[in-house]
Symmetry: C2
Subunit: 753 residues, 2 copies
Amino acid sequence: MSAQRAVRLDGQALVTGKAQFGTDVSIPGMLHGKLVRSSYAHAKIRSIDVSKAASLPGVKAVITAADVPDKRFWPPILDQSLFARDKVRYVGEPIAAVAAEDEATAEEAAALVEVEYEPLPVITTIDEALKSDILIHEEKSPYAPDESLGMRNVCSYSMLKRGDVEAGMREADLVVEDEFEGGMVSQLYLEPHAAVAKVEPGPFITVWTSTQSPYNIRSDIAQLLDLPASRIRVIGTKTGGGFGAKLRAIIEPYCIILAMKTGRPVKMVYSRMEEMLGGTPQTPLRIQLKTGVKKDGTLLARYIKVLMDVGAYAGDGPVDVNIALLIAAGTYKVEHVYAEGYAVYTNKQRCGAFRSVSAPQATFALESHMEHIAEELGMDPLELRMRNIWDDGYTAPWGQRLENVGLRETLRRVAETIGWGAKLGKNQGIGIACGITLTAAMHPSSATVKINEDGSVTVIVGAADSGTGAMYAGLPLIVSRELGVPLEKITLVPSDTEASPYNDGAQGSSTTYCAGNAVMAAARQARQKLLEAAAKLLEARPEDLEIRDNAVYVKGSVDKALTIAEVVEKTHYAGEEIEGRGSYVTSFPPYDSSSISGFFYVPSLIDPTYTAHAALVEVDEDTGSVRILRYVAGQNSGKVLNVDGLAGQITGGVAQGIGFALYEEMKVNEEGVMLNPTLMDYLIPSAVEVPKIDIVLVEDFTGSGPYGAKGAGEAPIVPPPAAIANAIYHATGFRARRIPITSEDVFNGLRGR
Amino acid sequence: MSAQRAVRLDGQALVTGKAQFGTDVSIPGMLHGKLVRSSYAHAKIRSIDVSKAASLPGVKAVITAADVPDKRFWPPILDQSLFARDKVRYVGEPIAAVAAEDEATAEEAAALVEVEYEPLPVITTIDEALKSDILIHEEKSPYAPDESLGMRNVCSYSMLKRGDVEAGMREADLVVEDEFEGGMVSQLYLEPHAAVAKVEPGPFITVWTSTQSPYNIRSDIAQLLDLPASRIRVIGTKTGGGFGAKLRAIIEPYCIILAMKTGRPVKMVYSRMEEMLGGTPQTPLRIQLKTGVKKDGTLLARYIKVLMDVGAYAGDGPVDVNIALLIAAGTYKVEHVYAEGYAVYTNKQRCGAFRSVSAPQATFALESHMEHIAEELGMDPLELRMRNIWDDGYTAPWGQRLENVGLRETLRRVAETIGWGAKLGKNQGIGIACGITLTAAMHPSSATVKINEDGSVTVIVGAADSGTGAMYAGLPLIVSRELGVPLEKITLVPSDTEASPYNDGAQGSSTTYCAGNAVMAAARQARQKLLEAAAKLLEARPEDLEIRDNAVYVKGSVDKALTIAEVVEKTHYAGEEIEGRGSYVTSFPPYDSSSISGFFYVPSLIDPTYTAHAALVEVDEDTGSVRILRYVAGQNSGKVLNVDGLAGQITGGVAQGIGFALYEEMKVNEEGVMLNPTLMDYLIPSAVEVPKIDIVLVEDFTGSGPYGAKGAGEAPIVPPPAAIANAIYHATGFRARRIPITSEDVFNGLRGR
């Protein structure tokens, strides 16, 4: 691994416990807020009686839908309100909120709010929803499929096609068909949602919140509360993990309304159970795959159908559906593709984004399907992959010409490292899987780099750091390299909608790529201005100058120099500042509009990150339990900027991927009640279940990110469920159709049940 | 008065008491700091014993010079340390600081610090200082005058000349000579210095402070604590008045060092007595004037000498000296000028800037001297002024060609309004005086104007608001006018070194001029970008579009429009932002370097603000007390942007000018001990002493400020002492040589004592 080592500018604060997370924010005079949640999955609200709650000593406000504007949010469907108005659609839906002097009183008051319900039939599965007479949402979604299909409760339809799938199937020597499922999974960040709102007359609103995107939060608040965005200041605190669940306003608007009502700042922090009931977990899905293949292993045609169970509100469902379609159509060459997807409402919790949305599940489906094809062909599954794997120059089904793929080399090295083909022990098996992460390279990002009058540097960028270090370790490295200023003199301004230029947040592994490109451009402009200012003072031409050791020298001269501080101070004094501004902007990928229909939006396809993983497992025949003996994670992240940070991301991502594979699922019963909403019931891998991860990095310097860097954070969560499922198959002959694959599943599978 | 009326965006918060001033900042876990001050005016420090203080329960830290880097600050002389090291130079000089759980404990602990002194001779007057064997500063100032002059304890020398003064004096029919003095005056802002510092490991420092210049404070902290400026974030709170005394780090570094020592946030708030002892009041000065004049009143030559008593540290003294020289050489045409000035150390409190530095005193001297000349010539003093007054096209002694003077018209209208020449009652007299305020138009200022996705506008500008409203009322008006967006949708980001572009603060009446020009340029760029983005979407050319009612229309079309919100949202979505950036930058005034020597720096001479005031007074012969019966204040502020704000500034400035004229002086005895450091002893005018002010505004739209606006805040404090002194003379024949002119002075003057 030939790459730079970085320090995190926030490292010392983090390890000494001094960093301020959302939960740490405290303002004198602050009240505490709590939500009152629905106990029914589907019911009309007959009445709400807040009188007992309001008269509890210490309670300062109780609010319901009547106290907020009747506005909706969460693009693209805009079907969510702050409070249920006429009916509730899931267990846990907010109905009212209280503010009290302390959290215990707020909780007590919340329990005193009396809601009278008229229960409605509860729909908890995709199949029920599609056929039901009951509509969960009476209002039709703008992206609903054609009514002639007779599909009920569908909030969005997406379609992508290339070539002629039916013709391709006819040409095929063999057609293989499969169906797979993935469950609902919690992001389970350590720090729950936490925010504090302070309202000054005007109103001028300040919100401190643990978020991945201060600008998204601001936009949501403006929309929900019908206020100008300019009057809302969102300051991002440190974020103790987000994984996609801290991209939209979950608790902030409640804090604001309560603060407006009471005239005092209001803080709200979710408990773990509130996170489980009121968060936005990974959306469950079902995926059908049908592939036509030649005897020699050439893939000819693929049909894909995704049915996504978005829960009671659309959330990111429509986006997640089309990403699932792209993933299932990816990483292997197939001429003819037809992919259709549907987001379906049920009376379950609303869902959202989770680290590389849809990809762990869709990749589990695709890579299990590839193994099935290899089996049917009697071909080594590695050979089948190598025969079809994407290379530079191939045009993906969505019309993008691929560059810097590096997947073949990554897969080759991963297979070599795990010892593919070696003789294994009893009940042992090796599984491999490839992955693509559609990093969100279309997120606009701007940055300002100010060189201060003492030669130190302040970087202002709208990026947020959800904990990965992409912001506080990666971006300063770029500035240091461009300006020749040591890291100790560089500071990044935390995300703040009033301090930072527009940016839509830490999502889609976009920080290094988008914010990094913006910061690089800004640093280069600042450097140029510095050289020009120094040139005037030194009576030289800018191109004859060089920067080293915090000073600007005339090239080749030892004496003729000014420190950076001197140049800036003199320039300030003359009425100018040394400041660079850079933007990263890109346009949408070049879809052929005849090849898509319905809702179609993809963050970006520029320089995706590719992965190949391999797992060696051993299965206990008597119990069905799976032990991962060895794990190899290969990744082509372009140029590696911060090798320790990348290794951390890969290790964490694989651990979460193991959770997806073997342990994690939020279970909901027929009444729509969650069965495991606490960490006593919800199973996650512990240090015992996560083996040491061997990391294989394939570098590449030709991409369009800074020095060729690609997004890194999401990619490693993608292949583990597939690699582990395939390893279980090779160890036992049991092919899992669903993740998580529990010991019970394996036990039953081995016994043909 | 034909001008616009404005609202202050912070008005509602201010009048409801919700605005957060420095004194209001509160952070959980915060300690309170107090300084230990010298009780001697000049003494060696033999020892400091902090043991008793440190062992007091509740005390968390006691620090002295040994705990801070040995660094100096306060440009241009850099002679001040945080704590006295070897000796103390004034009563009140900081020696140590303590931090404790509450303010009372901190105060108790401060009193327990034991300092052993070895007293040195105390110098309290300019005359003593110039001749003394004792040096207050052993180190020689870089701007000290030539040693051959034999002047001791001088920290700076400044000289300006034009023509040949001696030849001019020889040609004169009459030479008139005078000497005047002005005392030390407190700025007496309502809110004392108040700051809170929080230090996170790194260190990363955040300071909330009541300041006029977050960037200056940051720069001072970096210098004094030897830290990169990029690690220091200074956030300006609301400021309850500053008048020049909140431009440099007075208490912030102590808070930081105590916070570093204790690991807890530290707050410090000055008491009124600490303000009086440890603030930075108006510097006392003595000024000699000698003018050669022809019989017809033509001024031929003027010699000016200023001796300024800067106290124990130079502070702004060197700057104030040369501003006093320019003022005394100003507003009337004189061909030959020689002006020299000296800043002299004494063992008194360090001084600083006060609203229009040096000008009330220098103008008192100049305008009293003009009256004396008129008297000697037997000429009407108004006529003498009108004969010599500056007009457009005249070249000031410092080489600047004048434009937009408007002084003749202002003086004419003021004289007319007060009824110059009318018959008055017994012991009544009218005095008139002109003034020039060298507004600091050289302060660089940049601004960003962001149009948000809902059509609201965020303005980020490094300006600070010291309470005048120039920022929160004036700047939004400019943006509203340029973008056609109503004020309700516009927000200004409070000053913050991490949010705001570089700016050196609210000083020299520069906000409307410098920040206003920057904001106007930024708004125009944002407007242009908005039109370009809308043009793409509407398939039109930008020049064919217009903005009205929050929307962009094709000119002449009623339908073809997009709301501003739609344009911005679509543009964000395509990866761009609608943001304008503007800078105001100017170059130094064109001094002829052969005409100046020593320290010479003048904020700016672009578009100064001119004033003419007139006072009608009545003097009580028996007591010497002076009553102001009528007061007319005329001002040429260019284009008036906010007429209520300007009227407020004029009223307040005249009230403070009356204080200078008749009441205010900080008195120090021979031991260097201040005699009146509380509001029980220090006299200021109350509502009874301030008459209703008649305001005469002379508008002018040709200047280089926004729409022709000039700086407004400082100008009205300038002429009152001169106008009132001249009125007393006309009422009684008593010519005051010193301000404040107390009743006792008048009483004694009338009796020839």
